[in-house]
């Protein structure tokens, strides 16, 4: 097993842990890097039931929605494309479970954990700051928890997932642009007050117990 202390998230150089604020309640914008979340991309002709049985979350069929289950989120990316997001270090097991159950199927399963990081954005100004660069309509009538969309912020492609209606969003961003995006969010929020929050606890992922197929 590789030594975990060697592992650096894309924003490690910012030493965000040292910036974590005790009181984020007064901040208009609260930012957190959610490090090393497992991310596995699935494309192709996927048997949704098999996936559900294998990893414990169903794949959403409705565009731009998210299914949750077994500590995983399955985000709709396109017709026949999904992203499974899970707790850190789950990616190999998820990939393995998927490969097992989808063996021989016409699918592409790719671990993309390392290629992206996740910036959590919350607070009363979260929508407004995201809207400084994102063309999506984030009004609660249109976009609500459990929805996701691929779009861009300023000129960086993002995958946006609304987590709750506080509101809180997870922005999945390609790792090389995460430093830019962090600066961008911080700058946009600066006139209103920005705080850095600590990472939320995550629960380890376990592969669901295999049940005998019932016919």
């Amino acid at each position: 097993m590789v030594e975990t202390y060697l592992r650096q998230s894309p924003l490690a150089h910012r030493a965000l842990d040292a910036q974590v604020s005790d009181n984020t309640a007064d901040a208009a914008l609260v930012l957190t890097e959610r490090r090393f979340l497992a991310k596995v991309n699935i494309r192709g002709k996927v048997d949704g039931d098999a996936v559900k049985a294998a990893i414990g979350v169903a794949l959403p069929s409705e565009a731009n929605t998210v299914m949750e289950g077994n500590n995983l989120c399955a985000l709709w990316l396109g017709p026949s494309e999904w992203l499974i997001v899970g707790p850190p270090n789950a990616e190999k097991n998820i990939e393995e479970a998927l490969n097992e159950v989808l063996a021989g199927a016409s699918v592409g399963i790719v671990d993309v954990t390392e290629g992206r990081t996740t910036i959590s954005v919350s607070g009363p100004m979260a929508r407004d700051v995201i809207a400084m660069g994102c063309p999506l309509d984030l009004h609660p009538r249109v976009f609500s928890p459990g929805q996701c969309a691929q779009s861009f912020i300023s000129r960086s492609p993002i995958l946006l997932h609304q987590v709750d209606d506080s509101p809180s969003f997870d922005i999945h961003i390609e790792r090389s642009q995460s430093d830019y995006l962090w600066t961008w969010l911080e700058t946009g929020g600066a006139p209103y007050g920005v705080a850095v929050a600590g990472e939320p606890e995550t629960t380890n992922w376990r592969r669901p117990a295999r049940r005998k197929a019932t016919s």
Binding site: V2, Q8, R43, G44, G108, A131, T183, P191
Partner: protein, 1001 residues
């Protein structure tokens, strides 16, 4: 100074709150609620600028965005802003303003000499005089611009912050006058998402300067109440001080909100301005109308003002723009203004009316009040230098083209003119609607909407208050309904004290005749364009509206012709003897009023945010070790690593030599990587690449070329077979997104039967190239993988731990040295990089940058797609026919490569060049000419694509694409440069280790 022209009561200003400001170095006082213009008028300041061309004294003409004259250099130092309008600047404590376009000052202006010699500066003067010789324009321009002296841009960086924001709504209402307020109220009640934007500080539009009462309250009070009602609705967003400046496709509009410009500097916090990018389901334009000047002799004297503007200053600001007014009109609306002016303490000497028998409601009221109405008459001269002192009035002929009879002089210091009203059709026209001419109003109306849009109130030609309120409410309800909400227009408010029916009973006289020959009749104040200039343009056949505009410069100033366009077109139409609509008008383009560049940039400024920046996992190491970065696409890549006291060239030479002498490492993470999976992956790659990939063994990798279907090289890279149905493709750094899109395009549109799935893993894996004779020794210190030539041959890959990190090792090289590329999960890359640097100390390891990489590959003649190709280069042109499969039935580019043009023998082909002088490094991009001394156009036969000093060869080397290059080995060619002709010999493109022994060693 005291506010000698301020009424003791009336208006919306706060007399209890005094505000100190400085104008042209002099200190004044105004009141809260004032604009700079109203405060200046209240202080008796009449002269506010000099005109652009003739430097004639000018005064305030309007009261809003239309103002052509009162241009202000606002603020000082880094905060200064040119070309602002005094009529739109809200007064704040400590405001510092200066007039423009006059030196040393408006009172005594040296450029005024232009006025005296104006006979020799007609329209088109600059074009005619200064265009020859062409070179000298630069010289002339300096003086002309200096003398013209529009405002000055600040020289310091802008200290303010700006913001951009996207917003979506069901109904956007532009303009919060009576029609806009009624629309927003009706739509807002439905629960729809509403945005109401108005350029003024307070909502109400014309109600703020009107004496009408609505629902038993003053217009201003009604507007305030409705505004408050709207503010209480959750889904209504009110945007005062916000100008909607552009209307684009699919109901996308851009607005600029001035957030802190009206505050004293000490109170300014946060963004100064905000650009709103609005996507609206429905749009209601309630943009109102702008009064039109009359074009009469010397109508540009300070004190000649739009009648409605004068009324606004009196009613809204309690400021009298003069003491004795003559009103000059061709319609009824000026009578209302005259009555209000009289109520406001201005002595109205007379109303001069171009119409033979004026007799509307307001005409009667004016007469009843004892105001003299001089009908069927015209002002034929305006006297006074820096302020009006007297006007001459004569009787108009029946056809309105001449004047006759006795000249009557009227003593006055204010002329209130009205030539009718122009609906503010700018946004409607930008939206794609075709304007229509209205004969009764003698102006353009917005015409049939082309998008989900409605026009209400003044912009729709409705000048009666009742009509505005009614059409607004009905449009508001209709728009909400169309956006999917249940809405009703509701009851129209009752109007009590007369605003009349809004009828103008207008008689258009586009050029008011005068008995004074040569008297200037301005139709465009800001650009100093007169009726005579239009006639001149017409005589010289600049009669098309587009030519006319550019010849005379009508409408080209910062006011974009808001007061001048229709008058100019109508005068041109008369000269052409055609109706105005057949003359047409020039296109209304965004922006409606000028927008600060900072607002458009928003936060996207500075080295951090101007553009997205992509950084590799080792970026901070590079920064800490002297990296001199270059931009490759959005990536920051180390060009070289500078040591203390080293020049860039020295660093590049050092890194280049070190790679061939011992070992060096390169951060190669930016190269594109695409995971390609699926049962048809091998077949797919056979079609995509020019060479064969289905024959590639698992565990091996192969260099491949991609062509577009025309046969031209598009991208290249090494692709490894990871499994039977899985490949890892690499692409150029800059080409990565295009290649992925290209793969998707063929899979989705043409080869839909292929089951292949492509996913970008560019940043999933970081990559470190290890190159040099000691690369194997170095790597073997960190891994148990057998790196020997037999166990790990060239162009293969293996998985294995490197420094304890699970990695994938490739035996590939872009330097021509023994080399490996190690790819590892990106978050471990910094650890791996450090481990290599530490382990490499004994080999004197150093990192190398992109320039050393370029030199090394050029020494070997390896091409870079995009540098040694330009989209018209085939693999054969590059001398790489070996990479084009002859076995494959088809691949992208195969048929293209068989086209007659791609088979031509005189195509440009890639060769090496060595200069006669080994120290001469030819600039990249230099042309190669068979006749370098021929007169221009000098014939060209190719160009230099890559050129470096090679420390390993001890001389300069270059690659070039030259016609028939491959058959011209040994030939001497000429490269003409700016100051000399360089000679070079055509050689093989491989300069170093031609046998490739080091590569495979």
């Amino acid at each position: 100074m005291t506010q000698a022209f301020r009424n003791a009561d009336g208006g919306l200003i706060d007399r209890g709150t005094r505000i100190n400001f400085t104008y042209d170095g002099q200190r004044y006082q105004g009141n809260a609620g004032d604009t700079l213009a109203s405060a200046l008028l209240a202080n008796g300041v009449r002269l506010v600028g000099r005109s652009f061309k003739y430097h004639r004294p000018r005064g305030i003409v309007g009261s809003g965005a239309e103002e052509p004259n009162a241009l202000i250099q606002l603020g000082e130092g880094a905060l200064t802003e040119p070309n602002t309008r005094a009529t739109q600047i809200e007064l704040f404590e400590g405001l510092v303003a200066n007039s423009q376009n006059a030196w040393p000052g408006v009172g005594f202006d040296i450029g005024g000499i232009n006025n005296i010699v104006s006979k020799v500066i007609p329209a088109g003067f600059y074009y005619k005089t200064f265009m020859w010789p062409a070179k000298s324009w630069m010289l002339y321009e300096k003086f002309i611009r200096g003398a013209a002296g529009l405002g000055k841009a600040p020289t310091e960086p802008d200290p303010d912050i700006y913001e951009k924001r996207r917003v979506h709504c069901d109904v956007l209402v532009v303009g919060a006058g009576p029609a806009g307020l009624a629309a927003a109220r009706a739509a807002g009640a439905s629960g729809a998402r509403i945005i109401l934007a108005d350029e003024q500080s307070g909502f109400g539009g014309s109600l703020l300067s009107s004496k009408a009462t609505v629902d038993g309250k003053s217009g201003a009070q009604w507007a305030a109440d409705v505004t408050q009602e709207l503010a209480g609705q959750e889904e209504v967003r009110l945007l005062p001080r916000t100008t909607v400046t552009g209307y684009y496709d699919h109901n996308f509009l851009v607005a600029v909100e001035r957030i802190t410009d009206h505050l004293p500097f000490a109170d300014r916090k946060g963004p100064r301005q905000r650009v709103w990018k609005i996507r609206a389901k429905q749009v209601i334009l309630a943009t109102g109308a702008i009064e039109r000047p009359l074009v009469f002799a010397e109508n540009d004297r300070p004190g000649v003002m739009l009648a409605d503007a004068a009324k606004t200053y009196v009613n809204r600001f309690g400021a009298r723009p003069g003491s004795r007014a003559v009103v000059f009109t061709n319609n009824d609306s000026a009578y209302r203004a005259a009555i209000d002016a009289a109520d406001g303490g201005i002595h109205v000497v007379a109303i001069v009316d171009l119409r033979a028998k004026p007799e509307g409601t307001f005409v009667r009221q004016a007469r009843d009040r004892g105001i003299e109405v001089i009908a069927n008459s015209a002002i034929t001269a305006v006297k006074g230098a820096k302020q009006v002192s007297e006007v001459d009035v004569m009787t108009l002929s029946d056809d309105g083209t001449s004047v006759s009879g006795g000249r009557r002089s009227l003593d006055c210091d204010l002329v209130m003119m009205s030539g009718g009203w122009n609906p503010t059709v700018h946004l409607a026209s930008q939206s794609g609607a075709k304007t229509v001419w209205d004969d009764t109003l003698a102006t353009f109306l917005p015409g049939e909407p082309k998008q989900a849009q409605r026009n209400v109130g003044g912009v729709a030609g409705q000048f009666g208050l009742a009509a505005c309120l009614e059409s607004g409410a009905s449009a508001g309800a209709g728009a909400a309904l169309d956006a999917g909400f249940d809405a009703q227009a509701g009851k129209t408010p009752a109007i009590e004290a007369g605003e009349g029916d809004g009828e103008l009973n207008l008689r258009p006289i586009w050029t008011v005749p005068s008995d004074r020959k040569g008297a200037k009749r301005f139709h465009d104040f800001q650009n100093d364009v007169t009726a005579a200039d239009i006639a001149l343009a017409h005589r010289e056949n600049y009669a098309s509206v587009e030519h006319f505009k550019r010849y005379t410069t009508t409408g080209m100033g910062t006011d974009q012709g808001k007061t001048s366009n229709v008058n100019g077109l109508a005068i041109l139409a008369e000269l052409r003897n055609e109706p105005v609509p057949s003359v047409g008008h020039t296109t209304f383009r965004p922006f409606y009023t000028a927008v600060t560049v900072g607002a458009l940039a928003g936060n996207d400024t500075g080295p951090q945010l101007l553009d997205p920046v992509r950084k590799t996992a080792m970026h901070t190491w590079h920064e800490a070790h002297g990296a001199h970065f270059e931009d490759v696409g959005a990536w920051k890549r180390p060009y070289c690593y500078l040591r203390e006291g080293e020049s860039v060239k020295q660093a590049v030479d050092r890194e280049t030599l070190a790679t061939r002498t011992s070992v060096a490492i390169l951060d190669a993470s930016t190269l594109g990587k695409i995971d390609i999976q699926g049962p048809d992956a091998a077949e797919f790659l056979d079609r995509i690449y020019t060479n064969m990939f289905s024959s590639l063994k698992v565990g091996s990798c192969r260099y491949g070329f991609m062509c577009k279907d025309d046969g031209m090289v598009f991208d290249d890279g090494v692709t490894a077979r990871i499994g039977e149905n899985r490949f890892l493709m690499s692409t150029t750094t800059g080409g990565a997104p295009n290649v992925l899109n290209w793969l998707e395009e063929w899979l989705q549109t043409e080869w839909t039967d292929l089951e292949v799935y492509c996913t970008s893993v560019t940043t999933q894996w970081a990559a470190i190239a290890i190159a040099g004779p000691n690369s194997r020794r170095l790597l073997s210190e960190l891994t148990n993988v057998d790196l020997s030539n037999d166990a790990f041959p060239f162009m293969t890959w293996q998985d294995g731990d490197v420094a304890g990190i699970p990695s994938r090792i490739f035996r590939i090289s872009f330097s021509g040295e023994t080399g490996f590329e190690v790819q590892c999960p990106a978050s471990y890359a910094m650890a791996l990089w450090r481990a290599l640097m530490t382990a490499g100390e004994k080999f004197n390891i150093m990192p190398y940058g992109t320039e050393a990489m370029h030199v090394l590959r050029a020494e070997k003649g390896f091409v870079i797609v995009g540098q040694d190709t330009d989209g018209t280069t085939t693999p054969h042109d590059l001398g790489m026919s070996w990479i084009v499969s002859k076995k494959k039935d088809d691949f992208l580019g195969k048929r293209g490569l068989a086209r007659p043009d791609t088979l031509r023998e005189d195509r440009k082909q890639l060769v090496g060049l060595i200069t006669d002088d080994p120290n001469e490094v030819i600039p990249e991009g230099a042309h190669i000419s068979p006749e370098p001394h021929a007169p221009p156009p000098v014939p060209m036969e190719g160009w230099v694509s890559s050129s470096y000093y090679s420390p390993n060869c001890g001389r300069s080397i270059a690659l070039a694409l030259i016609q028939r290059g491959h058959e011209r080995m040994g030939e001497s060619v000429a490269i003409p440069l700016e100051d000399k002709v360089v000679r070079a010999k055509i050689v093989s493109s491989v300069f170093f280790d031609e046998e490739g022994e080091r590569l495979r060693g």
